[in-house]
């Protein structure tokens, strides 16, 4: 095992991790504000990928496809929130979780009915160029783009949440919904805005994912959705930089396990094992603050 080999695997890990991080950002935003594990997030992601697919087939480029997917998914996210989650604002969290599972099944199966269950190839809208760093170590343009997009979006999100008025409202709602309402914050529109942003991020992730791994199908969101969720929990769910760190960590761990001969099957097992260990020793994730129980 040479140094080059290790560096190459690290690059592979970071590239897959940045995709997880990108999906995890939306997860974490939604969780942060209404404490909902939005299992439909992975399916909004698939809608984004298909929007990109049709946009690309219609001849739009990467940027336009991306924007279109973000708009469509943002609207979809708000719709889901208004129709399915809003009536349950005061219900037990497990009830909203089941509703989210229901929404997830609904989107997947509507997708199967309208688009068919077969995977379709995604048109090539980005010409990929591979750069050799040194020796055998290579990196390609899409890997760079994905990492850049993820870091930029994370920075933007961090800015929105901590430096803008709507961000302040989000933090207030997240801290105490009732008090925020009493302070004159429009809780409903704040939550809708959160869903719009979170879902738009899922849409963007869908397109980027489909560009990187060029196929789309209605069930494509399940596994990345689960992985992104794990990444979000690893980093501390609800914390934006945590999503990035969790995603990259998960990506690197997965790649690391697979780079050992004969271990490729244990990838997910090791990933879940690390997740459980981190949860046991730091129950709120790597970046999570320990919330003191109110007595």
């Amino acid at each position: 095992m040479t140094f080059d080999y290790l560096v190459q695997q690290l690059i592979n890990g970071i590239s897959i991790g940045s995709i997880y991080a990108l999906i995890a950002l939306g997860y974490t935003m939604v969780y942060g504000i209404i404490k909902l594990i939005n299992f439909a997030h992975g399916d909004v992601f698939f809608v984004g990928a298909y929007t990109g697919y049709f946009a690309a087939k219609a001849g739009l480029g990467l940027i336009l496809s991306l924007i279109l997917a973000m708009v469509v998914c943002g609207i979809l996210g708000v719709l889901i929130e208004r129709l399915a989650y809003k009536p349950l604002r005061n219900a037990a969290r497990i009830v909203i979780l089941i509703t989210a599972i229901g929404v997830s099944f609904l989107l997947e199966n509507l997708g199967i009915i309208t688009l068919g269950a077969q995977a379709q190839g995604f048109p090539e809208i980005v010409t990929k160029s591979t750069y050799t760093l040194w020796g055998d170590v290579t990196i390609d343009s899409i890997q760079i783009i994905v990492l850049a997009v993820t870091v930029i979006l994370m920075a933007v999100l961090q800015f929105v949440v901590h430096r803008t008025k709507i961000g302040k409202a989000m933090r207030a709602v997240s801290f105490d919904m009732e008090a925020a309402r009493l302070m004159g914050i429009n809780v409903d529109s704040t939550i809708s805005a959160t869903f719009a942003i979170g879902s738009a991020l899922a849409g963007a992730a869908g397109v980027v994912f489909a560009v990187m791994y060029p196929s789309v199908d209605p069930l494509m969101g399940i596994i990345p959705g689960l992985k992104a969720f794990v990444a979000a929990v690893l980093g501390g769910i609800g914390i934006i930089p945590g999503a990035l760190v969790g995603g990259l960590l998960l990506g690197v761990v997965e790649t690391g396990v697979q780079s050992i001969p004969g271990m490729s099957l244990w990838r997910d097992g090791v990933a879940f094992g690390i997740l459980i260990l981190i949860l046991i020793f730091k129950p709120t994730g790597l970046f999570g603050k320990n919330v003191r129980e109110k007595v």
Binding site: A84, I94, I98, T99, L106, V230, L265, G269, F272, G273
Partner: protein, 317 residues
């Protein structure tokens, strides 16, 4: 044990007798027997998960993992090693219970969503272990398992499950579990060993999930790791929440309705999952406490019982 308890058992037995007669008289064909068996398996799964999620308030979504342990251990014993089914069934249940113990302990520190994701992770790890083990057939799983269970087995095992779980719930242990659910800190302050009750809930829940797995393996001819992924855990969770968390009756009704719904929608496969998911969403929106969550069955009965017998019959066994 009171009169009503025995009356309940008597009625159950009559029900059993009627169905058995219908089967013997070939009025109920094999498809309906299969459906009844499926119902029974799902009821065992849902009622046992309800002990963990509904009564003790621990958010677990790894039930499919426990189920797979029961299925695999029992199937290995009967198919690969040649032991009899009853012994295999017991070993399957015990193995699942041990897994419940192993998973219960370390995850006690976790609460709510964090516990949920940890149990989901454990469930997936169990599945991956089966998947990567060629002794149990890897991805193909174990096939050619003899069908040794039948409707009678399933009926009596469902009966046992419901009796045991109801007994626990109605006992002082059950009240302790409910207090853990309602307010852990208050429970602890009242001298309840919170850790102990959480672990008991996990162990007992896992035991019966293993039982469901063993029955299923010995009725449906084969098992494969793919049948026990997190989607299966969701499915069981949906039975529980739709029926009504913390209500055994509600959970049974929810399970029966959803299983039948899924069965009757078989002829329109393209709409099957869409109708299923719409019903799920709408039920949650309009009945967020589950189908029977609002009807407080216990109070309903208490009033009637109290009027006639002055409440004297409500002592718990």
């Amino acid at each position: 044990m009171n009169k009503r308890f025995f009356l309940g058992i008597a009625i159950s037995l009559v029900f059993y007798g009627v169905v058995q007669a219908l089967i013997s008289g070939e009025i109920l064909n094999d498809f309906y027997v299969d459906t009844l068996v499926m119902l029974g398996i799902n009821i065992i799964l849902a009622v046992s998960l309800n002990l963990i999620n509904g009564f003790t308030g621990q958010f677990s979504i790894g039930h499919a993992g426990f189920m797979s342990i029961g299925a695999y251990v029992s199937a290995i014993m009967t198919t690969n090693l040649g032991y009899s089914f009853p012994l295999a069934l017991i070993c399957g249940c015990l193995a699942a219970a041990v897994a419940g113990l192993i998973i219960g302990f370390p995850t006690l520190r976790l609460k709510g969503d964090y516990l949920a994701i940890a149990t989901l992770g454990f469930g997936e790890i169990i599945r991956i272990v089966w998947l990567n083990n060629d002794y149990v057939g890897g991805a193909a799983g174990l096939n050619g398992i003899e069908r040794v269970t039948n409707w009678s087995w399933v009926f009596f095992l469902v009966l046992i499950t419901v009796i045991v779980i109801q007994n626990i719930v109605k006992s002082t242990h059950g009240r302790a579990m409910i207090s853990v659910r309602e307010n852990e800190i208050a429970a602890e302050a009242m001298g309840i060993n919170v850790t102990r009750y959480k672990v008991i809930a996990f162990v007992v829940g896992a035991f019966f999930a293993g039982m469901a797995g063993a029955i299923s393996a010995h009725y449906f001819y084969g098992i494969a790791p793919g049948s026990y992924n997190f989607m299966k855990s969701f499915e069981i969770l949906v039975f529980v929440v739709l029926g009504g968390l913390g209500s055994t009756l509600g959970v049974v009704v929810g399970t029966v309705l959803l299983t039948l719904l899924f069965t009757f929608l078989q002829d329109i496969p393209e709409w099957r999952m869409i109708i299923y998911s719409l019903i799920l969403i709408l039920t949650m929106i309009f009945r967020p406490k589950g189908l029977l969550g609002n009807v407080d069955v216990m109070k309903l009965f208490k009033k009637r019982g109290g009027a006639t017998k002055n409440g004297g019959t409500t002592t718990t066994p």
